[in-house]
Symmetry: C2
Amino acid sequence: MTTSNKIVYTLTDEAPALATFSLLPVVSSFAKVAGIDVETSDISLAGRVLSAFPERLKDDQRIPDGLAELGELTKKPEANIIKLPNISASIPQLRACIKELQEQGYDVPDYPYEPANDEEKDIQARYAKILGSAVNPVLRQGNSDRRAPPAVKAFARKYPHSMGKWSKASRSHADWMRDGDFFSSEQSVTIAEAGDVRIEFVDKNGKVDVKKTLPMEEGEVLDSMFMSAKALDEFFLRTIEECKEDGVMWSLHVKATMMKVSHPIVFGHAVRAFYKEVFDQYGDLFKDLGANPNNGMASVLESIKTLPHSKQDEIEEAIHSCYEHRPEMAMVDSVKGITNLHVPSDVIVDASMPSMIRNSGQMWGRDGKQKDVKAVMPESTYARIYQEMINFCKTHGAFDPTTCGSVPNVGLMAMKAEEYGSHDKTYELAEDGVMRVVKADGTVLMQHEVEKGDIWRACQTKDAAIKDWVKLAVNRARQSGTTTIFWLDNERAHDRELRKKVEKYLKDHDTSGLDIRTMGYVRAIRTSMERMVRGKDTISVTGNVLRDYLTDLFPIMELGTSAKMLSIVPMLAGGGMYETGAGGSAPKHVQQVLQENHLRWDSLGEFLALAVSLEELGQKNSNKRAEVLGQALDKATGRLLEENKSPSRKVGELDNRGSHFYLSKFWAEELAKQTEDKELAEKMGPVSKQMNEQEEQILKEMSEVQGKPADLGGYYHLDKAKADQVMRPSATFNKILDSLK
Amino acid sequence: MTTSNKIVYTLTDEAPALATFSLLPVVSSFAKVAGIDVETSDISLAGRVLSAFPERLKDDQRIPDGLAELGELTKKPEANIIKLPNISASIPQLRACIKELQEQGYDVPDYPYEPANDEEKDIQARYAKILGSAVNPVLRQGNSDRRAPPAVKAFARKYPHSMGKWSKASRSHADWMRDGDFFSSEQSVTIAEAGDVRIEFVDKNGKVDVKKTLPMEEGEVLDSMFMSAKALDEFFLRTIEECKEDGVMWSLHVKATMMKVSHPIVFGHAVRAFYKEVFDQYGDLFKDLGANPNNGMASVLESIKTLPHSKQDEIEEAIHSCYEHRPEMAMVDSVKGITNLHVPSDVIVDASMPSMIRNSGQMWGRDGKQKDVKAVMPESTYARIYQEMINFCKTHGAFDPTTCGSVPNVGLMAMKAEEYGSHDKTYELAEDGVMRVVKADGTVLMQHEVEKGDIWRACQTKDAAIKDWVKLAVNRARQSGTTTIFWLDNERAHDRELRKKVEKYLKDHDTSGLDIRTMGYVRAIRTSMERMVRGKDTISVTGNVLRDYLTDLFPIMELGTSAKMLSIVPMLAGGGMYETGAGGSAPKHVQQVLQENHLRWDSLGEFLALAVSLEELGQKNSNKRAEVLGQALDKATGRLLEENKSPSRKVGELDNRGSHFYLSKFWAEELAKQTEDKELAEKMGPVSKQMNEQEEQILKEMSEVQGKPADLGGYYHLDKAKADQVMRPSATFNKILDSLK
């Protein structure tokens, strides 16, 4: 194995970038004692803009393309990357950034909305690579390993978040399609030899329309499935009827963001079902106005604003009268009257269901009161796990964060595995016929009879990704000594194919002494919950969608949030990427710094990621000291939480910088205390002593600066010297850190 | 193995005894063709009275002691007993029987209520052996094998019983103690060597009171456990409070009949909790009046009748005001105002819970309407399985009898195994102290700190019974090729001991190719239900209490009743007893015969038992023809059900006798049709032909007699000739049967 004692720390945007000016010196200084270099890589929005136009910049203005370099690094076994949150830039954000850079004297071009010539087309193409979620696809070159760090878990046990009490008589439940959904129609094949396959539609007259040709690798798993539009409509009408009868609220839970082709269509069906009479009467008018129910009732309400007032009133009246004979609908915002069907991105199943379960199984009604609810999730594949958890809470009460165990996840994600890769292979059918997947030689691999309006999709999973996923699961089982469950449902075609591979690849590993099981989803979640309430941990090894769902569901029960989870991408090539928390790059935090020089950003995610990064680097390079450093950092983070030295939101109180000081103090203390590396302990003893003795002085220097505006020399592209000045206000603390180098 | 071609058919009481006059000639005639003798054994109430006083009877009046003979037979491997329902005689029934016998000229003595001398004491002692449930303990010398016969299952699939629809939003649930119950305190030991153990109470001053000395066998499992009175009271008050909050009815489900020492005490606690204010105020008065809440509110209401009217009114007022701030209580009889707490024998968990689950999870309210309910079952050991089924029904809807599989049971029952044997080792504690189980040498095997009012009990299970139970389970798994689950809960001390034995004894058998699993109760019932809804059968191998509960729970879902189950006791000595249905001996049926010569008794249970009896006799004695006979009988029974030739309740329509004719006709037809035994087919061909040809004549002869009073020459002790005359009215049919001999 190539060895390396290098950690790459990403420079990103806004609050996390600002915090880095304070934290990185700490990290570099401590890493140095284990012989580790901490390098930086600029993947900020400004950085990516600058690196896209080297030919327009002066020599001293040019910077390397950090993302491209990192992309290369992910293919090397020595990769060890700390990835902080960055901006997924919208066009307005990109334009603001360009403007700032131009003002700073960088000759970057304006963003051309409508390119007039080849040059502008080239400019637009370069900017296109910078827009949106451009970073994750480049860096996530592996499967996913998410878990609650011990320090975070210990904190949740000691200071539990609130959990809504469950009534044993709760009426809340999940409901799903019993037939006609993706689950019931799923077919799956493992490709025996590499080659192209075609996705084809055959109409009633036998005319073949090739929708797409896909190059397949040997051993790749290819699925196809469809959702019947008729069955979907019947399902929605049945659930609406049942809610009315039972007196519970109706609430739709889909994932129109991730399942970005299929689920908006499903959402549109729900809108048309709930407001059936309105669409029966005005559907054609809405179509003429360009309103799309797939975008929610907001789209309809927006579109009718162009109509005469009397017509608007008439339609609003019709909408209102729907409510009168419909069950109550769960509200996203009862004050503003925003329902569950307003826009498809408001209620996202992986967030909304844990929130409902944490909240006594209830959601908010029109009157602003919490009520029992039917959680409508058409696709039965995943909905059943939520019902199992609901039944579990009805039986055993809410989970108790002070005693419950943890359910970390190993998720199949590499090489665009599974459902994430399905968007470009999803079709809403325009007419009745047959959808099929055909080999180059004409062999039909899979086919479905479909009707107009049905949603058909295919989905690929690469063999190498599966193989790596199995390896990661075994590694995690071995490292943690935790019972490990592969969530594979024998009633699902795709999972039956995966199960064969899992059984095969497990033989490549030494699994002696490990408790590795395979179960269907419902049994798996039940077993995990039963262990959880007895304080036991259980690793869930799942596909990509369940990865997404479970890494919210369990953390929200255990920790009250999924933002405190460790998120590691052990890369296919052998390296590791350590992601620091969810929750974006917090523009509001920067505003507060500019106004009153107080940074409320909590670097907890960075502390946690760094600890794992150090430990894994140590293990891979036989750098015992790095491991000791990582373990001590974990303990320091635990103490930081325990002793409540996280940043406050209020000016004048401890902020991000003060929190970094305490982390340093605890880290040094833990290193001085540990006995595994005596030399290190001796070296850190005096450092720890200094920090303790000068604690008051350091805090004074740090708090003195607060309350006044701060000058960072930029927003997207900070002035390094100014930012350094602002973020390292304590000369005393800086001096101690420098002494470590 | 000793071989025998003999079946013993029991002569019992009332309707089944009367039906036997018609059915036995059929059975004997058909059995004869396989060389099988059908002998009778008189275990009727009258028979047992007569055999108890041989010295007072004339020579021709004396009869042998059938029960004693059968008791001896159960110890022999050749035992093959068809056991029909008999009277568990109360004293009034016994006296009526004595009177009838005396009038018939039998010099049996009167029953002495208060024996005045030794002779009368002797008489009372002899009668004591006849009273109550005297037959089952003598005959049930083995474990239990209960299953739905294929013909019955097929009938239920074709003509399903009604099942109440489940709402997914149902509020109904089961609730149990989370701590302080028998489950949480259970301890269990396996006795290493035979010897006495003592059950002792040690008071606060160290004074030891030996409650009982028990001789223990080697390998016997001995449990001890207690229920905390305080925890029980808190539990009841909590559940009452929750029902009030949640707006569901409160309903107590215990088994005060079977758990006849512990559960009446539990019942009493419930009464005192629900009517807390009444007992706070009048408890002492009730005690003075001799009212015992363990016997229900009926006892209280009865006792206060001796008080002045004004006082009665006051107490009734107090009771009434309880209802006002209590939740609604489930009613046994809403018309008569009989609540769940009226008498402890009204709501018996093994019957009441399946009935509730079959009934949409609802029970009856005071207003005669069905409502959701909290089913309160203090002991968590078994309550959890009901909640699992309730959650299952909420999720998947009611079971569908037309498609669902079956859950037969193999129950540990032999040698008074387990909980049935606990009554003489159950104590309600009079003061605080320690209950312990001590070996002869003083070693303390188990002990519990107990408080005044706690209920402590011990429970024995013999090693030989367990060994036989495992064998029976393997045999049933092998014979049926069905997945088999041992219900043993690792969280229960008793089950952990049993599990060791099961694992050991399973090795004594060839289990290759069998699917035998072991699971905790909740997992076991869930797995069984998941298989059930997919049409798959699963044998439940359980302890004695679960045997009792499950052989009602599943049959009521599958068949609508548990009365149609086959109930076999494969005896430890190798023989078999085949019990024919539950449901008593139906005195009302006899009244109808006396008045209008129509017997509505359905001999289905006898048909089913006889078929198995024949098959097992055939297998044991390599009497292939007996097996063919049994299989044909099963098919005939199936046709009887399918073609609706069961007895009608109305005079003039087909009754018990006509139903026996059809059974014979179908049986003969099936025998003539089968190809396994050609000689037999040839023999039965003409018989079948005759029955077909003379069907009209036979039915005519059978219906002609109906509508007039019938003379049976007695009620408890029939005149054989007269009964024969009444029950075999068709000379044509009799002649055909005679031709078989």
